[in-house]
């Protein structure tokens, strides 16, 4: 394993788009060559070395390369976009679109991540230890298919549109979510251990959502069918009793989606 360490040193007054920062692009390059890769700031293309000090050479292949970003980069977007293998470790917070369209490998963000983490991701894993904002694993604007494979784990909270249009893969949220979690999903699994504000599973036509906490405002188009306890989806366990709903009947698709809601935290449902 070859480690490439990037330390933020530049001026991030305007956000930077750094889709070149992937193990695929770094593999086979020396630290010098990596520093010469171009990133965008506004309409200008500038060498990566203007923004980060680079230490260590890339490995022989993507799988063989680990990128460690040693600092906070909330204004650097698109790290790990479309990566196919290897590892990216961000020791602080990450900007928008981290791991967007990712195909394989692993991204770990020790701080928070901005919106659009893992948009339409197809494989690999993203682990965000802090909070994140909107559109985690979601479909791009106008597209009906979001994330289709891999796993996103968020230890903190997410805000809106988690997993919009999900067709496969798993999203596990340790904290809470706000609006439209699992909007229009047709497959895959979303587990929210905390609470949700409203419109969970809106327009879903397939797939599974589990909410361990309380749903403040329940989506109207769901029908209760059963009570099940101690759910298990491969290695993901959800202990406790759950009310099982099917829906969303607001969409004329015969409600093939499944929504589990914790019995203890949602007595009024």
């Amino acid at each position: 394993m070859a480690d490439v360490i990037l330390k933020p040193i530049g001026n991030f007054d305007l956000t930077v788009e750094a889709e070149v920062v992937t193990p695929d692009n770094f593999a086979g390059k020396s630290a010098d060559d990596i520093g010469k890769l171009l990133v965008w700031q506004g309409p200008e293309e500038l060498p990566l070395a203007d923004f980060f000090s680079v230490e260590g050479n890339g490995g022989s292949s993507a799988e063989d390369t680990t990128i460690i970003i040693d600092g906070e980069i909330p204004r650097v977007k698109r790290i790990g976009q479309e990566m196919t293998g290897g590892k990216v470790l961000i020791k602080g917070s990450a900007g928008m679109h981290v791991g967007s369209g990712m195909l394989g490998g692993e991204i770990i963000v020790e701080g928070d991540a901005e919106s659009w983490a893992g948009m339409e991701m197809k494989g690999g894993s993203i682990h965000i230890k802090g909070d994140t904002k909107d559109h985690v694993g979601c479909a791009y604007r106008g597209s009906w298919k979001g994330m289709s494979g891999g796993r996103i784990t968020i230890d903190g909270n997410a805000v809106s549109q988690v997993g919009g249009g999900l067709v496969g893969g798993e999203i596990i949220i340790g904290g809470s979510v706000k609006h439209f979690c699992g909007i229009r999903i047709s497959g895959g699994l979303i587990v929210v251990k905390g609470n949700a504000v409203r419109t969970v599973g809106a327009e879903m036509t397939g797939g599974t959502i589990v909410v361990g906490g309380c749903i403040e405002r329940f989506t109207p188009g769901f029908e209760m069918v059963d009570v099940e306890s101690d759910l298990k989806f491969n290695d993901i366990e959800c202990p406790g009793e759950y009310k099982k709903f099917t829906g969303d009947y607001a969409i004329p698709q015969k409600g093939k989606g499944t929504l589990y809601v914790s019995c203890n935290n949602n007595e009024c449902l």
Binding site: S115, W116, K133, D134, V159, S160, Q161
Partner: protein, 129 residues
């Protein structure tokens, strides 16, 4: 008092804004106004003026009160204008459009002076120039 803020057009707001009269007293009188129901007005102690404060308490704007049956308890309305937008939440849920309808705010009685649109820009946004 906590309330949900609604903002929107009124006919005179439209007339004055489109007629280029944003720096007139009429415009201030029409727009620097917080509408509420009688019940909320009474519970606030029937104040002549209120401060509407953003949820994070960073921004606050002084307005005259207007009691109307058009409002329900717990909801306030400010005509679409620079005063209203001081306390509208800037977060857009990744849609580009801030929360003109339904921003949570605090409403408290106040003695602060009501700023004109021009004073508001210069004092609040341009750092007192």
């Amino acid at each position: 008092m906590e309330a949900l803020l609604n903002t929107g057009s009124t006919i005179d707001e439209g007339r004055l804004a489109k007629g280029g009269s944003k720096y007139t007293d009429d415009y201030t009188k029409e727009c620097a106004v917080c509408w509420m129901c009688a019940e909320d007005f009474t519970s606030l102690g029937c104040p002549e003026k209120v401060a509407v404060i953003s949820r994070d308490r960073k921004y606050s704007v002084a307005l005259t009160t207007k009691v109307t049956e058009a409002m329900r308890s717990g909801q306030v309305f400010i005509p679409r204008s620079i005063w209203a937008n001081v306390v509208v939440e800037p977060d857009t849920f990744s849609t580009g459009s801030p929360r003109y309808k339904g921003s949570p705010v605090f409403v408290e009685p106040t003695d602060d002076e009501i700023l004109s649109a021009e004073e508001l820009v210069t004092k609040m946004y341009m750092g007192g120039e």
